[in-house]
Symmetry: C2
Subunit: 341 residues, 2 copies
């Protein structure tokens, strides 16, 4: 896959637009509640967390919750729950950046680069605790249980990711296990929790869970492929970060599996042993291109996106309002599915 | 205060014995549940967390929950809630050791020294998430809310502690604010949550909250005084850790406030600017002795301990069973109160 194709794939994210348009009012309320709930008499908390959260991001996880709630007719507590979901996600980002020693996220300096690792760890903990306070306010103990379980699985996924770091011979199943935990489970739980909170029937709660799960997998696989494809400016982070962090993702696994002894020697020296030289990233990209590893990854993301769209057809009810929402959810999934045609 | 006197004060902790004896069966169940709930398919989780939690500790926070529940006749969910409280505490210890770059806790190498900072951050997150799963199982949303709020306040206390680090001219009120957040609020919430879970009336819930709060303040002030007084072997951590970490605690605040220009110059160079030389800890201890700062700190801890004992007299009901428990709770508080007589 060429750089141009990859940038084109990114632009397909614009198909999030219908969902963003439908949920714009709610998202505005979520943004307001984020600011409100970052308030603390300890000034570094709103400063540091605000730096990360105000920097944007697509708010795709809270949109899962808002959409899940709308599928079942909405809930007065959906905004608070969506805010909680964004806080959980933000807490993991703060801790990830400490662990990866990242200095750039979404095109800006990271919180740990500006305030230090100590503050980032503690403010992450604060966001996590605040998320649970928000969930308590939503008042549904089953919803709370689902998001508490998702939170535990996120950390399990991240710890497993750490365990496979530097092992280019990782099996695809282990990679899928990692991204299920670290990414997809929160998408799934966020969507299902929204539906449950709004009183959806059990079929629709399951459908929203499945939709979120498949979308989350597609989303993470695309993200991992893009890391090798685009420039810093398009991505808002450094291209090749996963490479130098020795973080084993799908493209490398595919290239290792299809690779010869020379390829494997290269992966072992770089991502395996952490012995990097100038030009290694370009060599890695050339090997990935030779094995069609980025296109294969994007095809796989497309399969998951299609599964997400399929799940939506199993929703039990569909008023006119919901038809528009379902179509927007399908469009959100299609960003990678489009690669397939 | 001489070293001998300080070691004697530590031995007063043995007056926790009646409470430990009364709750021995429950504590055994908590220890079993800790092991059970550390289970994960990711091996480093039970290994790392087990290293910390199995190393002991007094289990004083879960005992607050167990005692709170017993005051109101007990609850089948008290064990799970007490386990959740220990998990919250353990998560903060893992993150504290990363932040303080500690290598020794309870006389053993720290988890971060053995497994690295990354794993310690993530396993801390896991324990925190698991704690909320356990609380969900307990099934009481008010209890959950109280412990979620306590968790947020712990991190606020720790962030504020970081903010006053290196400032020997810190006001006593700011120090009290820090230890209220980082320590006493969890003691209070743990005790009150146990009482609430077991259906205590609102008076008794408040009493247990107050008892836990005052005990927590006494406990932390004693801990901070002991850091300057005892040898590594008696403390299970390095004496003078707070000094070299530039962590401002009550003895230093008292010695600064009563100190002359020379004293203040010393505190500023060492704890203020972090410029340490051989023999500085001994000099610090000599200045503290000259200002009677450790005895004054212990007297203050004793005042809080007495307030904890006073709170117990406000409990609305007292069966024969409860009389024994209340007497054990009073003995637990008396460890520092005894210094006063």
């Amino acid at each position: 896959m060429s750089l141009n194709l990859a940038v084109e794939a990114i632009s397909e994210l614009a198909s999030l637009d219908p969902l963003i348009a439908l949920l714009a009012g709610d998202i505005k309320c979520v943004n307001a509640m984020i600011l409100e709930r970052l308030a603390s008499e300890v000034p570094v908390i709103p400063e540091l967390a605000g730096h990360l959260i105000a920097a944007g991001g697509k708010r795709i996880r809270p949109m899962m919750t808002l959409a899940g709630a709308r599928i079942a007719g909405g809930s007065p507590h959906a905004i608070g729950l969506a805010t909680a979901v964004e806080f959980i996600h933000s807490a993991t980002l703060l801790h990830d950046d400490v662990i990866d020693q990242s200095h750039l996220r979404r095109g800006r300096e990271t919180a740990n680069a500006l305030w230090g690792n100590e503050a980032s760890v503690l403010v992450g903990d604060f966001l996590f605790a605040r998320a649970f306070e928000l969930m308590v306010e939503a008042g549904d103990i089953d919803v709370l249980g689902q998001l508490a379980n998702a939170s535990a699985r996120i950390t399990e996924g991240e710890i497993k990711q750490m365990a496979i770091a530097g092992q280019p011979d990782t099996a695809k199943a282990d990679y899928l296990d990692v991204i299920t935990g670290k990414t997809a489970v929160l998408f799934a739980a966020a969507a299902a929790a929204g539906a449950r909170l709004a009183g959806a029937n059990s079929n629709d709660i399951t459908v929203m869970y499945d939709y979120g799960m498949q979308l989350g997998l597609a989303f993470q696989i695309m993200d991992d492929a893009m890391d090798y494809a685009v420039s810093s400016s398009a991505m808002g982070k450094n291209a090749g970060d996963d490479f130098t962090d020795q973080k084993i993702t799908l493209p490398v696994i595919l290239a290792w599996q299809g690779g010869d002894a020379n390829d494997r020697k290269f992966w072992q020296r770089t991502m395996g042993d952490g012995d990097f030289a100038d030009g290694d990233l370009a060599t890695a990209q050339a090997i990935l291109t030779r094995h069609d590893a980025l296109n294969q990854s994007i095809t796989m993301a497309g399969d998951y996106a299609n599964a997400a769209i399929d799940a939506l057809t199993r929703l039990s009810s569909a008023s006119a309002d919901q038809a528009e929402l379902i179509s927007a959810l399908a469009a959100a999934a299609r960003f990678s599915g489009a690669r397939q045609t």
